[in-house]
């Protein structure tokens, strides 16, 4: 109803509708089947007509408080009850509580002897009685065409059918009439000409050995409806139609981040890991460690106390647990605490839609925070590419609406790996991590890139991804003039670098010692020179003293000899005095 209200202009009163309660069908039809009018459901054998009709009644009785009458022409009450019990419907209980009346109309071809004119008033009486007895709002006639087989007078049958549909409308009940699909027309006996309000076509097709049921609303008078063919499936809790288009892109988003369990990978993702509720694609060729990263992620989440649902399409849970144990990941305690739950199926077990429905149901039951699908590519084998794309879109939408973080691993074949992933899935994903093998030096080494991570500043670097018995580690790959080096080449390169460093350190130490030695030599030389100098200076002083002594001695000796000679020492002395006063005498004579 609300769907319809959005589309139609507000002044137009929308056609009243009866919700079917069948998942997806109400979305396609914009609220359900036309209320108070008959709807024709046609399809081949085994495509689920009776179950759709039965679910319409059961849901009406249980969810919408609209009691219903099921008039069955092919199956007895007991058979019907047993059949719908397989969908989890308690028809017996509903009959006992007077919510549903089942009336089995027995028609065996040729059983009646016909003689003269008749009408089908008996049928009307029974139907009327059944409707009135529980004040039914819904009626199912399954399969009315049995009348054509049971009664020979087709003209009477046709006339009575026309009257019946008119009568149903007048009665104001919402009716579902099932019919076999005909070769050239919708139904074998042309019932569509009586039912003009709503016609739903069911179909069961086998594609590549995998059968898928489809539903299409052929006609819905007076209402907008999805005209596409929608896959639907019959699970053990009823039908679900899987419309892609009904899900709008308006889920709320979280800004919370969750760690990947590998610290270095978190660092590459802007330091804090993935956004909660985002969808993450992990692609790589076989043996690149997809499951390991996925398991790490699972373990990290479960250790935080979040529930993790691990869909495995290749390995059994025990095998995953054993293998992860070998790299130091202990998943078993988490499984025991029911924080981690595995769900392993073979992809070829059933069709894509069934897988999807099973997954939906598991998710609804477990309410996980994190879902891991390993690998999503296995599912791709179960359907055509467009189907897979549609399915993954629906799955992502469903999970995003529930704010579940999902990690898809994707196995790629060598070579066209990227292109393949790209075309089918990557545009739907929020983050994409690529794992790759690097071959060289007679070994294979794993590297990892973050190709895309919406909404975060992520690393553009290539990293080497190491798996050891202590877990996984992400290390820098060596990038040098010869390209990216990984594994032993990286180790060799780093030891080369170490050796070079050591050599230069040694060289520096050597040089330092040399300089030291030179400085010491210099000091020594300086000391020598100084002591030389000091020696010479001492000598010089000694000599000078010697010279002074000698002069004095000499003078003394001369005076002594002059005394001895008594000659003109006075003269000499007087002359000296005169000469000294001479300058003054010149001024004062």
């Amino acid at each position: 109803m609300k769907y319809k209200g959005k589309i139609s202009p507000p002044k137009v009163t929308p056609l009243p509708k009866s919700p079917t309660g069948i998942r997806g069908l109400d979305e396609i039809t914009g609220g359900g089947l036309p209320r108070g009018r008959p709807t024709l459901v046609c399809g081949g054998a085994g495509c689920g007509k009776t179950l759709l009709a039965a679910e319409f009644l059961v849901r009406g009785a249980t969810l919408f408080d609209e009691p219903g009458v099921l008039m069955a022409f092919e199956e007895t009450e007991a058979e019907l009850e047993a059949n719908v019990a397989s969908l989890g419907f308690d028809l017996t209980g509903l009959v006992r509580r007077k919510k549903i009346v089942v009336d089995y109309v027995h028609i065996e071809p040729g059983e009646f002897q016909e003689s003269g004119d008749y009408d089908l008033e008996g049928l009307f009486v029974r139907l009327n009685y059944a409707i009135d007895s529980i004040k039914a709002k819904r009626v199912v006639l399954d399969t009315l065409e049995a009348l054509f087989a049971g009664l020979r007078n087709e003209a009477v049958v046709r006339a009575e059918l026309r009257r019946l549909f008119r009568w149903l409308k007048d009665k104001g009940v919402t009716a579902v009439i099932t019919a076999e699909r005909g070769r050239e027309q919708l139904t074998r006996h042309g019932l569509e000409e009586y039912v003009s309000d709503c016609v739903i076509l069911l179909d069961h097709r086998v594609n590549d050995q995998i059968a898928t049921r489809h539903l299409r609303v052929v006609k819905y008078r007076g209402a907008l409806h999805g005209t596409n063919e929608f896959p639907f499936l019959i699970g053990d809790d009823g039908l679900s139609v899987l419309p892609i288009t009904s899900l709008a892109l308006n889920h709320k988003v979280s800004t919370n981040r969750i760690a990947t369990g590998i610290a270095r990978l978190d660092a590459m993702l802007g330091g804090r890991g993935f956004f909660r509720g985002s969808s993450i694609l992990l692609t790589g060729t076989s043996g690149t460690g997809k499951t390991i990263i996925a398991s790490n992620f699972a373990q990290a989440a479960a250790k935080r106390g979040e529930r993790v649902l691990f869909f495995s399409f290749e390995e059994s849970p025990n095998q995953i647990i054993r293998n992860m144990h070998s790299i130091g990941l202990r998943l078993e305690p988490l499984v025991k605490r029911d924080l981690l739950r595995f769900h392993a199926t073979r992809p070829s077990l059933y069709g894509l839609e069934m897988h999807l429905a099973t997954m939906f149901k598991e998710i609804a039951n477990f309410q996980p925070h994190v879902v891991i699908i390993d690998p999503v590519t296995s599912l791709m084998d179960a359907g055509t590419e467009s189907e897979c794309r549609g399915m993954i879109t629906r799955l992502i939408d469903y999970l995003k609406a529930a704010e579940v973080t999902t990690l898809f691993t994707s196995l790629t074949q060598g070579g066209h790996a990227l292109a393949q992933s790209e075309s089918s899935m990557s545009s739907l994903m929020d983050a994409w991590i690529l794992l790759q093998d690097f071959e060289g030096n007679g070994e294979r080494n794993r590297v990892l890139y973050v190709l895309k991570a919406r909404g975060m500043a992520h690393s553009n670097q290539i990293r080497e991804f190491l798996i050891s018995d202590r877990g996984v580690d992400v290390v820098d790959a060596y990038i040098g003039p010869s390209g990216v080096l990984t594994g032993s080449a990286r180790a060799a390169q780093s030891s080369l670098e170490k050796a070079a460093l050591l050599a230069s350190q040694q060289e520096a130490a050597q040089l330092k010692r040399e300089v030291e030695r030179k400085r010491k030599a210099l000091d020594r030389q300086i000391g020598d020179l100084r002591s030389d100098y000091e020696g010479e200076a001492l000598e010089l002083r000694r000599i000078a003293e010697q010279v002074g002594t000698r002069t004095f001695v000499l003078g003394t000796e001369r005076a002594a000899s002059g005394l001895l000679r008594q000659a003109d020492t006075k003269v000499v002395a007087q002359t000296r005095v005169r000469a000294r006063h001479g300058n003054n005498g010149n001024g004062t004579p």
Binding site: G116, Y118, G122, N128, L151
Partner: protein, 109 residues
């Protein structure tokens, strides 16, 4: 064809084991067809089962609940409840030949 009457005879004799035939005529109100069916049935019984039959007329308008028990679909309908097996004829019984076949009374004609 020579054996045919013999066969019919045995069938008829077997069918005649119970003394009383119980017939039920289901009608919807007193429509022309209902009235016609009753008179046709009555005349057949008078001809072939004089004194050993009982016709119960059920008006479904008054007793709609009874329609389910005998699996009534069309009206008028005659149900032969006894002798066994149960046999059903629908229509206003205007084709006497069909009525006789339906009631398994051909041998006595």
């Amino acid at each position: 064809m020579k054996n045919a009457p013999v066969k019919r005879k045995t069938l008829a004799s077997r069918a005649r084991i119970p003394k009383l035939w119980q017939l039920r005529l289901y009608v919807m109100d007193s429509t022309p067809n209902s009235v016609l069916a009753f008179s046709n049935l009555k005349s057949v019984c008078e001809t072939h089962l004089k004194g050993s039959y009982r016709i119960t007329v059920v008006d479904l308008l008054k007793h709609p609940k009874l329609a389910k028990g005998d699996q009534i679909l069309a009206t008028p309908t005659v149900v032969r409840r006894l002798p066994n097996p149960v046999r059903t004829i629908i229509g206003n019984l205007s084709n006497i030949e069909h009525v006789l076949v339906g009631l398994d009374l051909r041998a006595s004609s």
